[in-house]
Point group: C2
Chain length 292, copies 2
DNA sequence: GTTCCGCATGAATCGATAG
DNA sequence: ACTATCGATTCATGCGGAA
């Protein structure tokens, strides 16, 4: 396991070729988006996107454990007034490679990029495609449970943790009957729609997604000490989230300046104590839900 | 125009074959999903779904005006632990027919069907695929603007916590019962994510989607007296919304009992007066509202 | 007139059982 | 082995009646 807990500079396709089979528990990544302009980072043309991605997906398939999961954050661009089809083409081709297209989560970006066009609204959601090697894979649903319903969320948010337990004890002693409705029903499983704001204030290198996004999937699909790979790690958000949660990370990026930023960021991170209550928050639509 | 303002009993493919080209402004429909509604539609199998739908889409393409829009509400089901590919296959095939895949709206169903499974969460979103014949099409963005700011807090102060959070969810999608309260508030353009709950507990008629869903797209893509077609009209929700908004409707359904329900419902509808405060009308006191 | 509370009701999916 | 049916699971919502 000498390849874990590193940020690696290089093309993930080349780097991964030297890796052992079935060694990764979760691949979470947001590859560079297709773009007409050649000079931008990545700069893969929409029409060439599938061919560019497939050999990499082949390596992802090989290094992923049979019980592991691949989560791909992607969204098709508008080309010539149409949504380009490279994402759905990619799904079909990856299934031919042997991937199972298990699920498609929806990331609702609360504060999407502003703008106005005569024939379309702001694009406010992205796909989180879940792929697996087998029908049976590891999933720890309890780790991402959320407080019950909106009505309870608004109420619970105003209570501190101590207040919450105090109220519950009141139930036992015959007081606070309002809270009695929540007893035994305080948390529910989430859905496949994830509400999170984009990271707005990011300096030079804009992070594609907020830290809470990989965090959510890391909690859902891995346990402590599992290995998480982000082959397009960019500024290192996935690696940071993994390390904070006591997982092992591997980040790869072909861009040298990203590589350096990611390395710096990840070195400054201290894993949270495992029995420490999770402090991170997930934005549900109107409220902030406390996870963990 | 002797075919408008009717609910028609029959197979939309056959019915539409006798219709003139380029005569419809908006097609909004939610066809039976694969393996759903077996009793009434026979339950189209996932593998046969594309072949079943394509000849109908051919007719839709023919009868739609060049400036018109086709909005298709659909969602793929899980088959053998995977998301089936019939929806994305359909998109690709429809493009070969000549359709432009202009946009994909997201309908976030807040009250999705409950359930728990070891490998998946509740499915809480559906696709609203937008297709067009031409890059230039009619779109009236101002009609679906949503209020912005803290008005909700003041307005909702008197409500219970329960009702408050419930109503806030409607604010997000831009719909609610007391939309007349929006008068005097600033508005912004919405995004391509639509938050609406299904109307499952509606005793009189249970529809696949809430009336506000077709209403939103009818306002966005048509003007009064335009013609709106729903070739799978079901219990008539699209036709009801169209009539209420002063548009002409055509509803087709192959199921006789649905046909009768739709006809009954639509006859009871009175179009709203056009100068009645529209749900989206803006009257600020000092300044002109943001109307594009 | 309000606010609160109980209850029926879904475009679902999995796993087991039966033919 | 492959298909058809059935039970268990689960929760946001609107409605109606009570406080």
């Amino acid at each position: 396991m000498d390849f874990v807990d590193k940020i690696i500079h290089g093309d993930c396709e080349d780097v991964l070729k030297n890796w052992p089979d079935n060694s990764i528990d979760l691949i979470f990544t947001s590859p560079p988006y297709a773009d007409q302009r050649k000079k931008t980072y990545g700069g893969i043309r929409p029409d060439e996107y599938v061919d560019w991605f497939l050999p990499k997906a082949e390596q992802f398939l090989r290094v992923l454990k049979p019980t592991g999961t691949f989560v791909l954050n992607v969204k098709e661009r508008v080309v010539n007034g149409e949504r380009h089809t490279y994402v759905i083409d990619l799904i079909l081709k990856m299934r031919e490679q042997g991937w199972l297209w298990t699920e498609e989560f929806m990331w609702h970006k609360k504060n999407s990029y502003p703008g106005k066009w005569p024939n379309r609204f702001r694009d406010s959601w992205e796909r989180l495609l879940q792929f697996n090697k087998r029908k049976k894979f590891n999933m720890y649903q309890e780790e991402v449970m959320v407080p019950v319903g909106d009505w309870a969320k608004t109420r619970l948010n105003n209570l501190s943790e101590t207040d919450k337990s105090r109220d519950e004890s009141k139930v036992d002693s015959g007081f606070g009957k309002n809270v009695s409705n929540w007893v035994g029903r305080d948390k529910v499983y989430p859905t496949n729609v994830i509400h999170m704001a984009t990271e707005c204030a990011n300096r030079n290198h804009s992070a594609a997604f907020p830290e809470s996004l990989p965090e959510w999937f890391i909690r859902l699909f891995t346990q402590p000490n599992d290995i998480i790979l982000d082959p397009f790690v960019g500024s290192g958000t996935t690696a940071v989230a993994a390390k904070q949660l006591g997982r092992n990370y591997v980040g790869i990026d072909i861009d040298e300046s990203y590589y350096e930023i990611a390395q710096q960021r990840v070195l400054q991170i201290q894993p949270r104590l495992l029995d420490e209550p999770a402090t991170y928050k997930v934005e549900t639509k109107n409220e902030t839900a406390i996870l963990g």
